[in-house]
């Protein structure tokens, strides 16, 4: 018998496949381009491979088989809210009347799309206690940027241009300071207190007439609820600043507590986290930006307007009694954040998810997300340090620092070992204030059995680390490749395919 040669761990690049003469016939032949344009304007060659449809199907199917998604297993990636992505959402988003609708379709011929945007916007505003949202930004960081641009313009209009400081707790997502820098703000990093929270006394020390915005995540990235949020907001407002809510952790609060009621003036949502839009390998996202009443005029353009119909059917659903339009005429607006109105297909998905739940369902979603996180937390505390041993929200942090001292096994090694058990690694080394941090967010869509399995696997890995640390440090061993040489990738960047030298 011959040696098997199939290697499931590797596939050639698409550029190394294909043959001239193997093209698929999707469109008819055209006349030569030189019939239409002078040769000087045309490119010389188009060096792309021609592959049969079957070869393309096999190529990308094989690539998918070497990609881990929620559909394959538990994905406890902290701060990323990797919950189940219901397929009804995709079925709705890809309906012909949505997918093939051109963005410049006149409003009167796109009433359904506008109604989707309107219903989503109204639902989010109520759910989070904001006066209005704009669905324009494309992702969380994009919406953060929009919010800070709103703050900048608001202060400029009030003649308060001296306000150039943005306060960011040391547990904040990296996008917060990066977004602040893109608006020319100076970042003040605020240390967390012993309880892992922002201290009212500490923040008062840095507040002043140069304070523009205080950016907070609540629950924060340690998974802890900022229980002095009301006093913090009061202090920031007393200093003349604005409060910004990073909605990355909004899965913990729905139907329970609202950023608007906590005193936030600005916020964003990552609807691709909280509202089950598939992450798709890192995008596309969807980042509505919300504002309190005094900032509504500054929202990015366009916004959806609803005008009551004169002959509306009183038995219809509330939003069916309106005519909708896109409004670009907001003189104080910061302007558009991107081409066109929204990542509309994602607005469809988010709204479908809200329909699947209603208020009661969303409240339950957050409760069970918190239940799942706390359940794992108390069990993991039996064999790993949990630096903040108290009730958490949707996520919590554990630390492998003691384990590392004892055995040499780091957080990274634990994470890689999980991959060998068909589970995604938690977020690691974030937030930065927790050494050897593992940030674990199970989400509400996981069953107790899955959580028990994860706890059991992690326990076993920690025990193995104490018995045989080298084995854990060698992980992963069941994946298609072993640990990847990142240093070589960065030192000798190879970022694209090159044709073989003749």
């Amino acid at each position: 018998m011959s040696t098997p040669t199939f290697d499931r761990t590797q596939s050639p690049l698409i550029f190394d496949l294909g043959q001239d003469g193997r093209a698929n016939k999707y469109v008819e032949d055209a006349r030569p381009m030189t019939d239409f344009l002078p040769k000087s304007l045309l490119r010389d060659e188009l060096p792309l491979p021609d592959n049969s449809e079957l070869d393309v199907m096999r190529h990308f199917t094989k690539l998918s088989q070497r990609t881990f998604g929620i559909d394959l297993g538990f994905y406890p990636l902290g701060s990323c809210t990797m919950k189940y992505n219901p397929r009804i959402n995709d079925a709705m988003a890809t309906k012909r009347e949505f997918a093939q609708l051109h963005p410049y379709t006149p409003d009167e011929l796109a009433q359904g799309a506008l109604q989707v945007m309107y219903e989503l916007e109204r639902s989010l505003s109520s759910l989070f206690g904001m006066a209005a949202f704009s669905l324009n930004p494309s992702a969380g960081a994009h919406a953060e940027l929009a919010a800070l641009l709103i703050a900048k313009k608001y202060f400029k209009d009030r003649g308060e241009t001296k306000r150039d400081k943005v306060i960011v707790p040391d547990t904040a997502h990296g996008t917060n300071p990066a977004s602040a820098a893109m608006c020319g703000f100076k970042v003040i990093s605020l240390p967390s207190d012993q309880r892992g929270r922002v201290s009212v006394e500490e923040i008062k020390k840095v507040l002043g007439d140069d304070t523009a915005v205080c950016m907070m995540t609540n629950p924060n990235t340690l998974g802890l609820f900022e229980d002095h949020i009301h006093e913090i907001a009061q202090a920031v407002h007393d200093a003349g600043g604005l409060m910004y809510y990073d909605g990355a952790n909004a899965n913990a609060i729905m139907g329970n507590v609202r950023p608007g009621d906590m005193g936030f003036d600005l916020m964003h949502l990552n609807t691709h986290k909280t509202f089950t839009i598939p992450h798709g390998g890192g995008g596309a996202g969807h980042g509505p930006v919300g504002v309190a009443a005094h900032l509504v005029d500054y929202l990015p353009t366009p916004v959806v307007r609803a005008t009551p119909k004169s002959n509306g059917d009183i038995n219809a659903a509330p939003s069916d009694r309106y005519t909708f339009s896109l409004d670009f005429d907001l003189p104080k607006s910061i302007g558009p954040m991107r081409s066109f109105w929204s990542n509309f297909a994602h607005a469809v998905r988010a709204l479908a998810y809200i329909y699947a739940n209603g208020v009661g369902g969303l409240k339950k979603v957050s409760q069970l997300a918190v239940l799942n996180a706390n359940y794992i937390r108390v069990k993991v505390a039996e064999f790993l340090d949990t630096p903040y041993p108290e009730i958490c929200r949707h996520e919590f942090v554990a630390s492998a620092q003691e384990l590392k001292k004892e055995t040499g096994v780091k957080a990274l090694d634990l994470a890689k070992a999980l991959l060998d058990h068909g589970m995604m690694a938690p977020t690691m080394y974030f937030p930065l204030i927790v050494p050897e941090c593992l940030m674990i967010e199970p989400t509400e869509t996981e069953s107790k059995e899955t959580l028990d399995q994860f706890i059991g696997v992690l326990r076993e890995i920690v025990e193995e680390a104490k018995r045989n640390p080298e084995a854990v440090m060698a992980a992963p061993v069941t994946t298609v490749v072993g640990r990847v040489d990142e240093t070589r990738a960065a030192r000798n960047p190879d970022l694209k395919w090159e044709p073989a030298q003749a």
Binding site: L13, F15, R22, Y26, S64
Partner: protein, 453 residues
């Protein structure tokens, strides 16, 4: 919905945690507690969700109109194989491929995307995608500002107005001024004005789109590019109709240092404006200034080929306020769709699509310009869009076309007051001769009626 907990599970888990109820678990201070009931859409069983969205879908009557709409979002043929592959759960439900060992497939696909963009633009490096073409221009402009430390930028007035508006949003944040270059009577950027402006050595970058917003192919050439580069200004090429890359001389060949664009045309649905997929490609010199994710090819510990996110020291999660951009989420799934599209089409298919776009848009130009009272506004060579002057308010003509079931194009008046009698019309490989005839006939009736009044 979508929560698997039984009552017994909840009780057992609460007991393990040591709290009495879910309410206790989520207790918040009274000062911030919820005070009034919330008003969101009602909970529906799944089949009724489907009915509700069918109700919305039926109100999007515009999808059944004959359409000549383009202007940054294009109707192209997308083989069903794209959806069959891209909607696989492994791709759809993956996160950013931080854990390379279990993300080799997606990482390779993004590496292939980067390679395709480099082959199409002729550039050295391409990133893993940004939100869209407009934000790509804004991010590229920031690259240029970081490269030379200047505080003003230059952009052609023939760049898509949405792109320019987004650029202004970003530049307002950075306190950077934008100056605009005029358009000639032929419908292309005034290159003499460009050369004059860059000679001041005040501008970090100059952005020129080709085909430009009017569909015209810019005459920007290597000689112009060298004047720009000698002034220390970064030449940025903008491409909003990516199919044109299959036909036209590459931006690299005429000296662009950064090429940004929108790849929606590569199989991504128009979807009422998004999500789409922007790209940024550049010369090697700008490698460490490029924003967003980059996938590199390397090896694993056993020297097997492997792919990984690389040069992450540029990014926000490492460098925070000193990052090259705040971008985190990109458009990976749309980039995957575009990559599959390019793989399926290959050079032959893509060439044919581009050639058909040239052909159909010329049929369109011939048909509408043969109508009395209707003229082509510009004389420059074009790709698949034309500016049609109807010599009366474009909005009126478009409204009358709409009554006849035709979306005739985009009214240029709101962005270019001097073109308020002009319509931007697009034809692609999907535009039929019958549709073009219907448009020409309708225009004939509408314009004739007007002439008789």
């Amino acid at each position: 919905m979508y929560t698997p907990h039984t009552e017994e599970d909840i009780r057992a888990m609460l007991d393990a945690i040591g709290v009495g109820s879910l309410e206790e678990l989520l207790k918040v201070p009274d000062a911030v507690a919820l005070k009034a009931p919330l008003d969101v859409v009602p909970a529906l069983p799944e089949y009724q969700i489907a009915r509700r969205f069918e109700h919305f879908a039926k109100k999007n009557t515009g999808v059944d109109y004959v359409s000549f709409l383009g202007a940054g979002s294009y109707r192209h043929y997308a083989p069903p194989a794209i959806g069959a592959l891209a909607m696989r759960g492994e791709f759809l439900t993956a996160y950013t491929p931080y854990q390379a060992e279990v993300s080799q497939g997606y990482l390779q696909a993004i590496y292939e995307w980067q390679s395709y963009i480099c082959l199409l633009t002729g550039m050295d490096i391409a990133n893993a995608s940004v939100y869209d073409g407009a934000t790509a221009l804004a991010e590229a402009t920031i690259m240029a500002l970081n490269a030379n430390g200047r505080k003003k930028v230059l952009v052609s007035r023939a760049v898509d107005p949405n792109y320019r508006a987004v650029l202004k949003t970003y530049c307002d944040g950075l306190d950077v001024a934008i100056d605009e270059l005029p358009v000639t009577a032929a419908g292309t950027t005034d290159l003499d004005a460009l050369k004059h402006a860059v000679a001041s050595k005040e501008y970090a970058s100059v952005a020129v789109q080709t085909p430009n917003f009017f569909g015209n192919i810019e005459a920007f050439d290597a000689a112009t590019a060298s004047v720009v580069r000698e002034s220390g200004t970064v030449p940025i090429a903008v491409v909003s109709e990516a199919i044109s890359l299959a036909a036209l001389a590459t931006p690299a060949s005429w000296g662009a240092e950064i090429v940004v664009g929108e790849a929606q045309s590569f199989g991504v649905a128009m979807a009422y404006g998004g999500p789409y997929v922007g790209f940024i490609a550049s010369t090697k010199e700008h490698m460490r200034r490029i924003p967003g994710r980059l996938v590199g090819k390397t090896v694993d510990k056993d020297e097997r080929t492997a792919y990984v996110l690389t040069l992450q020291a540029r990014e926000q999660h490492i460098r925070r306020e000193r990052a090259t951009s705040n971008i985190c989420t990109n458009q990976a799934h749309c980039a995957l769709i575009a990559t599959i599209y390019l793989a399926l089409m290959g050079k032959t298919g893509l060439h044919d699509v581009a050639a058909l776009n040239l052909q159909r848009s010329r049929e369109l130009a011939t048909a509408v310009s043969s109508v009395d009272g209707v003229d082509l506004k510009f004389t420059a060579p074009f790709f698949n869009e034309i500016v049609v002057d109807v010599h009366q308010p474009a909005a009126n003509v478009l409204a009358k076309l709409q009554e006849r079931g035709i979306l005739g194009g985009v009214d240029l008046g709101p962005w270019y007051p001097e073109l308020s009698t002009c319509i931007l019309m697009n034809a692609t490989e999907l535009t039929t001769t019958g549709e073009i005839d219907a448009l020409a006939n309708a225009l004939g009736e509408i314009v004739r009626v007007h002439a008789n009044v």
